[in-house]
């Protein structure tokens, strides 16, 4: 079914906000966790989580990670992804990341990061419900 022009623009606006929110969240996670375990181990964990979540949500492959940090390439390609898919994809990625954190250090990392993640996830759900 074809989507009307104004509807497409509205959805794109939601996607952009979600994208912005999740990228900021990943950067915050990076900042906190890299101070705990160092950039080289963290970039490895990010790559593993992206690879795993990317099996289901291919658009996550646009995320690039090095020891310098995390960023996204080819932003324009997100235009084809629906806001709820973006939301689910990033949620999956964060879940995988937290699974790795827990497997390695039980609750030590999660305790430090969770206070930052929880409000952002709530905000993402709010953005999504407004669409």
């Amino acid at each position: 079914m074809a989507i009307r022009m104004e509807e497409r623009e509205r959805l794109t606006g939601v996607s952009d906000r979600l994208l912005d929110l999740y990228l900021n969240l990943l950067r915050e996670i990076w900042e906190v966790v890299s101070a705990l375990i160092g950039e080289s181990v963290l970039s490895l964990l990010f790559r593993l989580a992206i690879q795993k979540a990317g099996e289901k949500y291919g658009f996550l492959g646009l995320l690039k990670v090095t020891e310098e940090g995390i960023w996204m390439e080819g932003l324009g390609e997100y235009r084809t992804v629906t806001p709820s898919e973006i939301h689910r994809g990033f949620q999956g990625l964060i879940n995988h990341l937290f699974n790795l954190f827990s497997a390695l250090t039980e609750g030590v990392i999660s305790r430090e990061v969770f206070p930052k993640v929880f409000p952002k996830l709530r905000e993402a759900e709010r953005i999504l419900s407004q669409k």
Binding site: A35, L36, I37, G38, S40, V41, S43, L44, L48, L100, A103, L104, T105, E106, V108, I109, R111, E112
Partner: protein, 338 residues
């Protein structure tokens, strides 16, 4: 503030100790010695992927069930990183027990793993293994422990990577690529050490020089590829016939040499004769033909032949080899003053 400085100093000395290590066991020992100053733990583990070995440095009262649990957990976490070994059966366990706690804090025989910190040893995007701190106490580690442990893990990864590079360079430098025996350079180096030990310590030292009989004919008849195979087969036979402390090297071309520390003339002669017979009776496949090859051997010995230097010891063995050739090949000759 004083507490932080104290910890930083302890961290610095731990990193120095790791950095000064020359082999993986030393890293584990250094870490095991220094880590109790920084953390309270029951077992420290290092899983080295290259050799699938798990080194555990643990409190002496650790019950075997706890050791097993720690090992299993480390392998499990490592496999979550998509790495092998992913099964404890594939891992060689090396356990060092040390007294890490006072008597009144000895571990319960039924103690179980309650908390741990595990970090991958990663450098230049390569995972070399993982390290782990383990405790039988709940919530034994906090964020500050993790920060300290990650710095230590990073240093270990860098040192292990250095070992890896060094060991591949060492392999190139000391082995003959065709036969996998030590090369001549390594032989010279080893002989210097053994000669010094014998000349100044008064122990025996024997040398056997070996040459494949009619090797040129083999090369001319069957080609160099088959000739190379013969060299490899002979090298394998030599390696299988000597004692653990002996050094077998390719001296050059079709010549080999064996250093036999603490071997008297009689023992050296017995080993040489055993090698000669083994080669003579082993049927080798050369091209499409099966045939027997023979070798000639020359022996020299300190102190019986009274060499004044290692070079003279080599010359004497070479001279004896020449005598064996002259006397009709396929025999062992002991050096004699002419």
């Amino acid at each position: 503030m004083r507490f932080i400085f104290k910890n930083l100093n302890l961290l610095r000395s731990t990193l120095n100790a790791i950095n000064m290590s020359f082999e993986i066991k030393e890293i584990v020992e250094s870490a095991g010695t220094h880590l109790p100053n920084l953390f309270e733990f029951s077992a420290f583990g290092l899983l080295w992927k290259e050799t699938a070995t798990l080194y555990l440095y643990q409190e002496e009262s650790c019950p075997p069930s706890f050791t097993q649990e720690v090992a299993q957990n480390m392998v499990r976490v490592f496999s979550l990183l998509g790495e092998e070994p992913n099964d404890l059966n594939q891992v060689t366990l090396q356990v060092e027990k040390r007294r890490l706690r006072p008597d009144h804090m000895k571990m319960d025989p039924k103690a179980t793993l309650k908390s741990y910190l595990t970090l991958p040893l990663t450098i230049e995007e390569e995972i070399l293994g993982c390290v782990s701190l383990n405790s039988d106490q709940s919530n034994a580690f906090d964020a500050e422990d993790l920060q300290f442990f990650s710095v230590i893990g990073h240093q270990m990864a860098a040192t292990l990577k250095h070992f890896q590079r060094f060991s591949s360079i060492k392999t190139i430098a000391i082995y003959d690529p065709l036969t996998n025996l030590y090369n001549r350079r390594y032989f010279e180096e080893r002989l210097t050490g053994e000669a010094q030990r014998a000349f100044y310590g008064g122990s025996s030292l024997s040398l056997i020089m070996i040459d494949i009989d009619h090797f040129k004919k083999i090369n001319d008849t069957f080609g160099h590829t088959e000739g190379d195979k013969v060299l490899q087969e002979i090298a394998t036979l030599l390696k299988s016939s000597v004692r653990k402390k002996d050094t077998v090297a390719r001296y050059g071309g079709e010549e080999f040499v064996i250093i036999l520390p603490e071997a008297g003339l009689e023992e050296a002669n017995m080993i040489a004769e055993r090698i000669r017979k083994l080669v003579e009776t082993t049927l080798l496949t050369i091209g499409k033909v099966q045939m027997n090859i023979t070798i000639s051997l020359g022996i020299s010995n300190f102190p019986i032949h009274r060499p004044k230097s290692k070079e003279e010891l080599v010359r004497m063995a070479d001279h004896a080899l020449y005598e064996a050739k002259r006397a009709g090949r396929n025999r062992v000759c002991i050096f004699r003053e002419s």
